[in-house]
Symmetry: C2
Subunit: 735 residues, 2 copies
Amino acid sequence: MHPSLLQDSVRGCPKEIPHNEKLLSLKYESLDYDNSENQLFLEEERRMSFLGFKCLEISRWVICGLIGFLTGLIACCIDIAVENLAGVKYYVVKQNIEKFTEVGGLSISLILWAVLNSAFVMVGAVIVAFFEPGAAGSGIPQIKCYLNGVKIPRVVRLKTLVVKVCGVICSVAGGLAVGKEGPMIHSGAVVAAGVSQGRSTSLKKDFKIFEYFRRDTEKRDFVSAGAAAGVSAAFGAPVGGVLFSLEEGASFWNQMLTWRIFFASMISTFTLNFFLSIYNNKPGDLSSPGLINFGRFESDVSVCLLLSSPKPCVISLSTVCLVLNPVFSVYRVYVHRPCLQVMEAMLVAPLGPDQSEDYPLQKLCLTLWGGGTNKMSPVGHIFVCLLFLWELLLFCADGEYNSMATAFFNTPERSVRSLFHNPPGSYNPLTLSLFTLTYFFLACWTYGLTVSAGVFIPSLLIGAAWGRLFGILLAVWAVPGKYALMGAAAQLGGIVRMTLSLTVIMVEATGNVTYGLPIMLVLLTAKIVGDYFVEGLYDIHIKLQSVPFLHLEAPATSHWLTAREVMGAPVTCFNRIEKVGTIVDVLSNTSTNHNGFPVVMPVAICGLILRSQLIVLLKHKVFVELARSRLTQRKLQLKDFRDAYPRFPPIQSIHVSQDERECMMDLTEFMNPTPYTVPQETSLPRVFKLFRALGLRHLVVVDSENRVVGLVTRKDLARYHLGKHGLEEMQLAQT
Amino acid sequence: MHPSLLQDSVRGCPKEIPHNEKLLSLKYESLDYDNSENQLFLEEERRMSFLGFKCLEISRWVICGLIGFLTGLIACCIDIAVENLAGVKYYVVKQNIEKFTEVGGLSISLILWAVLNSAFVMVGAVIVAFFEPGAAGSGIPQIKCYLNGVKIPRVVRLKTLVVKVCGVICSVAGGLAVGKEGPMIHSGAVVAAGVSQGRSTSLKKDFKIFEYFRRDTEKRDFVSAGAAAGVSAAFGAPVGGVLFSLEEGASFWNQMLTWRIFFASMISTFTLNFFLSIYNNKPGDLSSPGLINFGRFESDVSVCLLLSSPKPCVISLSTVCLVLNPVFSVYRVYVHRPCLQVMEAMLVAPLGPDQSEDYPLQKLCLTLWGGGTNKMSPVGHIFVCLLFLWELLLFCADGEYNSMATAFFNTPERSVRSLFHNPPGSYNPLTLSLFTLTYFFLACWTYGLTVSAGVFIPSLLIGAAWGRLFGILLAVWAVPGKYALMGAAAQLGGIVRMTLSLTVIMVEATGNVTYGLPIMLVLLTAKIVGDYFVEGLYDIHIKLQSVPFLHLEAPATSHWLTAREVMGAPVTCFNRIEKVGTIVDVLSNTSTNHNGFPVVMPVAICGLILRSQLIVLLKHKVFVELARSRLTQRKLQLKDFRDAYPRFPPIQSIHVSQDERECMMDLTEFMNPTPYTVPQETSLPRVFKLFRALGLRHLVVVDSENRVVGLVTRKDLARYHLGKHGLEEMQLAQT
């Protein structure tokens, strides 16, 4: 049996992920973005009036509005929760400092601060590691995979959302070098997947609405909208959100869909803006369109900035970061027990920068030990150095403004803004470079911890820091703040390798359109240079998890491959009227866990039926003999399939008696009678194009008499990729 | 014979266009966005090394850069030429006024002014009407059709570009109520189609470069880039340009393509900016990113503006405009002789507003007759009224600031900016409403004149005027300038019905991201209300020309139709080894002007061959007998097909002797061996999706034994549309 036709034998959440980029895992199932246009479906569509379609269209808009609203609300909650938790933390530490300063016990305050940080991070890490490991990280790679058509287990469940939101609040409040922007994308996607289905399987609550949308095709569209709404809420960038969704997900451009996605994004940023304005006691002001705000860049772009912006050194750091990150990820293979994961997270926590809103600690430290508001005595330094390795970095000459401390003790969002907007001369080049390096290694380590956290803000901060450094060294041409912006764009672009969407997000976040061209040039350079060395961070993580991810086009040099070479053969086919026993045996065979079966009559293909459909049929005992004997039996409807979606029961849970095994099943009504087929001679790029453009899951390969000779699935196409020495074929792994 | 398989019997430029939206013309050929992957093609691809593909990729980038550069340059030339021509015009009129004022001959000056305007417009109309009728209008509907896959004759030729550029210079300098922005999109597309082919068929010059790109698939990608570069140069909106291209053209989202399109757009706006800055003696300033500049909106959006922006009345005017426009278009059926067209254009010219840069005429008129700089005596009014009907509108009470005159005598671009930014109280509501109405009827009449001109600027101006009017009446909430912006967006959106791209264009042109949400709400309202009454302007014009335009999805209620009902049958098939005489006879049959022929062996389908391929084969006499007798004969290569592209000779020009008619032709090497096929039972939406997603031209319908039973082409799908009473089928017309 061809290995590509095999599926995961043990379903459910993966415990062990093969960390090997040369393998392609077979445990991932695909989503089916091609409607199974069987008789039931066609009958329903034909029954529906024009008005019915209008109502469906209106429900789609309503759902998108809801998605935007809820995503904005979640973003708002995260922001407020982080602010308040951090506030409590600082209140406690401040009280402690004031109490113990007289008796020389400042070290206690610092330890208290570290303990509080660790406690927050511990809570965040515990819920992620023990309750829902799928909520770790930013979730963007998972959403990319989902939109690409791979079913990542548990990625769009309610529990994941809850753990993700609580986790991100804890890790940001705990002072890790992470951002709260990335997880918003995942949160938006989960909201979308939940709202659009009109029910919660986890809560066992069915609202009996939106039943029409209970299939992969429709759900995918809403998940795109949710991801876009997440980006929009995170950066106040609705257009950027739409482009992110399109870049990552939608392969087929649909004007109405795009417009709906845009609507969700707009509602999302507006909701966030509205509620945050009320929270900040400035209702009607609408000054917080996103979780992060770069501040307004008033001055326009000059030619000089344009010419100097795509500096090659732009790339070095992000590439190093990407090389380092897999190293951390691979070492994490050994940290795969939840307890170890929590401990690691707690270890990193006290090293993280201070996330306070009014940084009392920094001010107090400076005041108490330095003798002046912005000065620091050497004694203070040594003391701090002994307490924390990081504080070494606070070293600076007497009387110098300690920009380093500012950068380290501020929230990353504020630090980014300071780096962008502070007047020339605010930062000392030496401290800035020290800051860049330390924060850089810290961020590399932090990303991939078992906590919910994003990589956007740390990347922007690192980029802004060394961009500013570069600007200071080049100070002849432009103000260093602009270089900080370019550096931030370059660093983020080098790490995530997004193109158009990132340009638009950056432009929307800065609020000045004239920065589009330099940002685009910087991102282009970052992408070209970065691609030369290593793939983007998300792609690396997708590869490490051995996900069969389909890129947009087949590898350039794959024209010599044809469907005959790539397809899986022989194929298990069913007759149009098949014995129940045969079906049960095939479905129960764990070594050949197929998901799609061509239906033949007598040898030519006449349809395609899915495992999930067969399971519903078996469950409802739709057998020819029973239909004859019990004439009153209710005819199976599309509703029965929708009710079982998306968690179809395994074949083992369905009991089929020995008598029933001898019955026959008529698949005519339920199979897709017009599956897409290709001849054996079709070239791989052509197969790829058909497969990708239509979002297929199974593509039947036939000979000149329409007999089934093979079946092409996602894994057969994903395993070819361009390596250093031309076309390479990845191995398929069972796990 | 099924009518949908028929093609135009008389090729070339259409003389008579059927003005009927219930018909679908058969004279338009389709473009083939699906590669014919025949043996020659596959051999070439397989021969090519990885390095070869890299080089191709680099050439694509180079071409996109060139497209952007040339488009920006053309925009720059148009701008400078218009400015200088208008300058000359005003210099002459001013001289005349100064000379004749003493002798009371001011009427002569006004007549001179009208004559000069008419002269400019005459030149513009003459070149369009007599040399290249395809250059009339903005060209956006034509580019939409091209990107959709319809071959509009002569739309991307060099001659069209030259006439278009000269035409737009003349009509704008001649003072018509038109803009120079729309034609930029067409110009960019022609530039792209020319540059990417590395040769000019018109100039009979072949640079022997970019030969790989000589096919519809590749050319389409570059034309998208050109259109985007045009939008970008016109509005200084590179992201908006990309979105325009995607919204109108690309059905399949390709990340690298999008990025290249973005590159072309960026280069285009930068080139324009750079050269205009030099022209304006401000090199390095980069303050003119587009032909139009809305000025900077500094203040942010408030909730009040947000809530009041989607006003329903927004739509009324644009809908009236769209209802009026077809009326004008239909009456133009009777103005189809070039002389009449030129005369009509000349008639409209003197009615148009004054396009001067420093409006000396307006100032002089006001000064001489009004006794004061901003006042006007009633005597002056009466005189002006007698001379020109329009001047009636300049009526205003003594001592009142004549905002009307300002609006009318200024360039439209400047008027738009004044309406956006002038402080509250600058405009009198009465004059503003008079201006709106007159300019509105003028614009309706002007669009569709036989001149090259765009509809963007007049729409923006009308919208800004009545938006400002609305703002004045509602003055409690926000400054009227913001309402002018919303009105402009609503009017333009109601007319062109673009969605995401227009939002982004408006945001990029205003340079303030916070206006995104209200603009989007306004556009959404405009689209929903507008769609209820009538289609968008471009769609109306496409329908009036009976173009078989494929929308993104099949009509919602078309599930009851299957491939069997929509396909054309019977189909003319060829055998794999076919007699030359048969081929020549089939190709020469003017009543069945097929373009694609399934190849069968013996009855099952084994390939698909195009008319253009057969013509090249016949021209090179690729006959089995000749190959045997003359062993040294050069083997036909892909190059021979590329050299003939895109103007394949008609079959009549190829001489085949009586002996040769008895020869045989082996089509194996040249046919596409793996055409896409569907079974007869496939539903129309499924056929539609396959056809549209892959950009097909012919889709073969087969039975269960793979025998050809029909052929689906563009017309078979385009003729079904949703009317008032459900699904309607359009008639097919030979013309």
